[in-house]
């Protein structure tokens, strides 16, 4: 770079800084991608994989496209009918996603669209929340960063979090959109608390709300709430005020109860699909002798022929919803017995973990992105704004060893500062490692639950939480490296931890 170019870059950065912060730039960039992809034809969304009816019918919506079934898996459908009469469908699935669907429905009715629901209204609602979450994340990431690093990170954030693999979910009824937004908000709230950028009470509230919505968005997230609750307990010691401690303590208890409640509310039908896959695409596929594996669960050995089958197969020797299948096969096992099987069969466990790791770095599913009217082929996926997904899928070593190595390296990078903070008894400074560990554990947990609970069926979608957690942690670590917040003489100052120390000193002096 010659002098003139350097001058021009400086001028650009100076100009940008005057009018737009890195966080605003990232938020604006992501908003622009959302606008282009989701709201300008050809609209991008996600095809139904057969799961929609659960969330649709219980919320007063129905499929009103005549050839809807033939579009399943291949085409994105953007309009749905709104029930005009009493909806007798009980809630098939209790999920926090219901809140967003109902709110979108309300907005639709405010605008006078009370017969037909356009899913883009929901996309707009999610979009607003997501842009806010990206803003907070980049605000935390670029804390005390240099101008160049700040804008660089903002552009990187647009590249990673504006990827179509993420934003296409907003034009769908999958709960992954809620998981994405809430995980971003949860992580940002934790890091902002660590950095003391905003009011602690506000951030504590944001942490609690996002954790609860995240957990209840999907039944498989129930164990994640337990992990989040542990970090929630650490927040109790952030401040000395009794009111803060009571609120933080209560919040941790609520999170624990939410975890239990979410697990208990799993509806039957939901269990069956995943249960079927857990056996046919999990246990039976990872064993050399399917008949022996079936004997472990007390199932007739003839069911070995179901190895590799999927619930939505076009042809099955007996219908998967039949009573025989229920009594002779599905009723014979559950999540605990499958977990026990993997624990007692390490070979099978390592195979399934390997399968999980192989698919964990894929942000995109195989579902079609375009409407049928767009004239694209069945199952066609968009390539626009998919650079990060492709890069990740191409470059990430898809092995379980890499996942373990990644965790060790990241934890190792943050361990020294954590040790120092603990030694200095500065709880806020010590938060960074537990937050990172929380994200990694949540990702790992999601991965485990996905493969134990549903085998390798639809795995890219089931491991979505791991994919987001991986991206968030890696992005944060890269940002810490770029901003020299991990090592070097100014690491503590760059991370904003000196301010914390000063305020601590001031607090102590004040008390004396």
């Amino acid at each position: 770079m010659n002098k003139l170019q350097r001058m021009k870059l400086k001028q650009t950065l100076f100009f940008l800084e005057k009018y737009i912060s890195p966080a605003s730039l990232a938020a604006f960039g992501v908003a622009l991608i959302l606008l282009i992809e989701l709201f300008i034809p050809p609209y991008v969304g996600m095809a139904d994989n057969g799961d929609y009816y659960r969330i649709l019918y219980s919320n007063g919506l129905y499929f009103n496209v005549p050839d809807y079934t033939s579009q399943t898996l291949g085409y994105f459908v953007k309009t749905f009918g709104i029930f005009q009469f009493y909806n007798e469908n009980s809630a098939l699935l209790w999920s926090s996603q219901t809140l967003f669907v109902r709110l979108s429905l309300q907005i639709s009715e405010w605008f006078g669209y009370d017969k037909q629901f356009d899913i883009r209204i929901q996309a707009a609602l999610y979009g607003v929340l997501y842009v806010g979450a990206v803003y907070l994340l980049v605000k935390a990431v670029t804390w005390k960063a240099s101008r160049r690093a700040g804008y660089g990170l903002a552009v990187a954030a647009i590249f990673v979090f504006g990827d179509i693999g993420y934003v296409a979910y907003f034009n769908s009824f999958y709960s992954e959109s809620v998981v994405l937004i809430m995980l971003l908000l949860l992580f940002s709230a934790c890091m902002l608390l660590y950095q003391r950028q905003y009011n602690d009470y506000f951030l504590l509230f944001l942490f609690g709300v996002s954790a609860i919505i995240l957990t209840t968005s999907k039944q498989q997230n129930a164990p994640i709430c337990l992990i989040v609750a542990i970090v929630g307990v650490l927040f109790v010691f952030l401040r000395r005020e009794r009111i803060f401690r009571v609120i933080a303590g209560l919040q941790a208890v609520v999170l624990l109860l939410t975890a239990v409640g979410t697990y208990a509310l799993i509806p039957e039908q939901f269990v069956n699909i995943n249960k079927y896959h857990a056996m046919t695409r999990g246990v039976l596929m990872t064993t050399d002798n399917p008949e022996e594996a079936l004997a472990f669960f007390g199932i007739d050995k003839q069911f070995a022929v179901l190895t590799g089958e999927i619930y939505y197969d076009q042809f099955s020797p007996i219908p998967v919803e039949s009573e025989e299948m229920q009594t002779q096969f599905l009723d014979k096992y559950g999540f605990p017995s499958i977990a026990r099987y993997y624990l007692s069969h390490p070979d099978a466990a390592s195979k399934i973990f390997e399968t999980a790791a192989r698919n964990a770095f894929s942000n995109r599913t195989k579902l079609g992105n375009y409407e049928k009217a767009a004239g694209k082929s069945f199952g066609a996926r968009t390539v626009a704004f998919s650079g990060y997904s492709y890069l990740k899928e191409l470059a990430a070593p898809k092995t379980s060893g890499f996942v373990v190595l990644w965790m060790i390296v990241i934890a190792g990078l943050y361990a020294p500062s954590f040790y120092k903070a603990v030694k200095a008894r500065a709880i806020r400074r010590a938060l960074r490692l537990p937050i990172i560990l929380m994200m990694m554990a949540a990702g790992l947990c999601a991965m485990g639950v996905a493969v134990i609970g549903a085998g390798d069926a639809d795995i890219a979608k089931h491991e979505f939480l791991f994919a987001v957690a991986f991206d968030l942690v890696t992005f944060w670590t890269v940002a810490d490296c770029v901003c020299r917040r991990l090592w070097g003489p100014n690491a503590q100052r760059n991370a904003g931890e000196e301010d914390d120390e000063q305020s601590l000193l001031q607090q102590q002096e004040g008390q004396q």
Partner: protein, 525 residues
């Protein structure tokens, strides 16, 4: 031979050939005309879902196909009177009293051809032709009877029974309180009326008599047959029990059919071998095998995949000496063209079952009949019927009397006992002409003989798979660099053991040094 004689001979030949041609040509045209099935238009007002009448439209469709008719089914909303002109016969069904005005109106315009009305509100035309007087009764317990067969306590909530009429009558219906006493059906010429038809009771048997007469089917040279069909044979049932059942039926002298579910994946698994071995046993005990075409799922079906997969399964069967003689499947499968071509294309012998769930697809063209398609009727329902004599009368149509796979040994015993004691004259399916062709094999039956690829199937030839073949063999993994890794393993073991030993040595030395230092310092460090 003189020239004149040659001309005479030539003329003689020409005349003979012309005469022969004149005799043969109209005959072949007539034969063609005869082979074309009669087109029947079936118009219904509602399917009567969740009412006792549910399934009667489907049952009629099945019956018409079993009688060799081509049938087009239409909802009365889609029916236009001029449509009837393209069909030889019209059947109207009124399941809901206040829904059949349009059907009634349409039927009145259609005066020239044969008409049969089932249910409420017969048209004025029909009333006139049959001099029909009907009376309405509600909440009645009926006794239905036909041809020496009867059933008591058939409950109807509302009924228009035939009080008076002119024509040939079929069966009787009487109520326990005596307020109903009339024929089950009445027919005069091409016009007929059946006031009541619900599948699952005696009316299902009785209507076969009326339909046969109304369709004008003459008694064939060969009498109609009844077959015993066991449904729901899948790879997951108790296969030992299936073999036991086959033996029991064989010993009771009852020939039978089984409708088996195809298996499309993992066909090299021991489970498949056991399944095929059980089907071989079925065949060896005089059982005939029919292959069930899976019903379309809610996720839709790709017909081309189905055809390929069915073909694969049929070949699998043939390769172990099993000769399937036809197909079975739900009615809806026969209605959709692509599904029918994919699933039923292998054989012209097909037994149709009622749909598991209410289904009516808009039909663009008439459903063509199969060459052989016995009408399926549930065994439990037929065995409830009382009869005047021990011997059953010949049914008007070929019947496949079905029993679902028995849930338990006790239920199986009970069913076999009642089948054996029913005196139903079950026929051997193999005595009829049936054939099934897959891409590599052809199975056929002729006068009791079972042929596979033109050769007689040896029914005693069971290739009882050895226990060894039924064990799952763990796949042998290909080993690369075996030598290198085994050397590496040994080196690592040596290294680890040496390190551990060194560790123990250092620990011991360190402990001693520390102890010495401690003692030297006088107990304080």
């Amino acid at each position: 031979m003189s020239r004149l004689a040659a001309i005479k001979l030539w003329l003689f030949y020409t005349v003979c050939l012309s005469l022969l041609g004149a005799l043969l040509l109209p005959a072949s045209a007539a034969a063609q005309e005869e082979s074309k099935p009669t087109n029947v238009l079936l118009v219904y007002d509602s399917l009567g879902v969740d009412t006792p009448a549910a399934g009667n439209v489907e049952a009629l469709q099945q019956l018409l196909l079993s009688f060799g008719m081509a049938v087009k089914t239409l909802a009365s909303d889609d029916y236009k009177p001029e449509m009837a002109a393209d069909y030889e016969k019209l059947i109207t069904v009124c399941n809901t009293e206040d829904l059949c005005d349009s059907t009634k109106h349409g039927a009145e315009l259609y005066t020239e051809k044969d008409q049969l009305h089932i249910g409420y509100n017969p048209s004025d035309l029909l009333r006139g032709k049959l001099a029909l007087q009907t009376e309405t009764r509600t909440r009645q317990s009926l006794k239905l009877s036909v041809d020496g067969l009867s059933q008591d306590n058939v409950f109807v909530s509302r009924l228009d029974f035939i009080a008076e009429g002119k024509g040939e009558t079929y069966g009787r219906m009487t109520s326990t309180d005596g307020t109903i006493n009339g024929p089950f059906a009445i027919k005069a010429g091409g016009y007929a009326y059946v006031p009541y038809f619900e599948p699952g009771n005696m009316s299902e048997v009785a209507i076969t008599y009326v339909l046969r007469a109304w369709l004008g089917i003459e008694a064939a040279d060969t009498p109609t047959q009844a077959y015993l069909l066991i449904r729901g044979v899948t790879p997951f049932i108790d296969l030992n029990r299936l073999e036991g059942l086959s033996k029991q039926l064989y010993e009771a002298g009852i020939p039978f059919l089984v409708s088996v579910s195809p298996l499309f994946s993992n066909t090299d698994y021991p489970a498949m071998k056991r399944y095929l071995a059980a089907l071989q046993t079925v065949q060896s005990y005089n059982g005939s095998v029919l292959v069930n075409v899976p019903a379309p799922t809610s996720m839709g079906q790709d017909a081309s995949i189905l055809k390929e997969q069915m073909d694969g399964f049929l070949n699998d069967l043939a390769e172990v000496g099993i000769a399937p003689l036809g197909m079975t499947g739900e009615m809806k499968r026969a209605q959709e063209k692509s599904g029918r071509e994919a699933g039923f294309a292998f054989s012209d012998t097909t037994i149709l079952f009622p749909n598991e769930t209410a289904f009516m697809q808009e039909q663009l063209e008439a459903v063509q009949p199969f060459t052989s398609s016995p009408y399926s009727m549930r065994g439990e329902e037929l065995l409830q019927v009382n009869r005047a004599d021990k011997i059953w009368p010949a049914f008007p149509v070929d019947l496949a009397i079905t029993f679902d796979w028995f849930e338990s040994e006790a239920k199986q015993e009970e069913a076999v006992h009642s089948i054996a004691g029913s005196w139903l004259p079950f026929a051997d399916f193999k005595s009829g002409e049936h054939s099934l062709s897959s891409s590599s094999h052809k199975a056929e039956s002729l006068q009791g003989a079972l042929l596979l690829d033109g050769k007689l199937v040896d029914l005693q030839d069971q290739s009882n798979p050895t226990e060894e073949a039924l064990q799952v063999k763990a796949p042998v993994q290909k080993e690369s660099f075996h030598l290198l890794f085994s050397v590496q393993n040994r080196v690592l073991i040596v290294l680890i053991v040496t390190t551990l030993m060194l560790f123990v040595v250092f620990l011991t030395v360190g402990y001693r040094l520390y102890k010495k230092k401690y003692y030297k310092s006088g107990g304080s460090l």
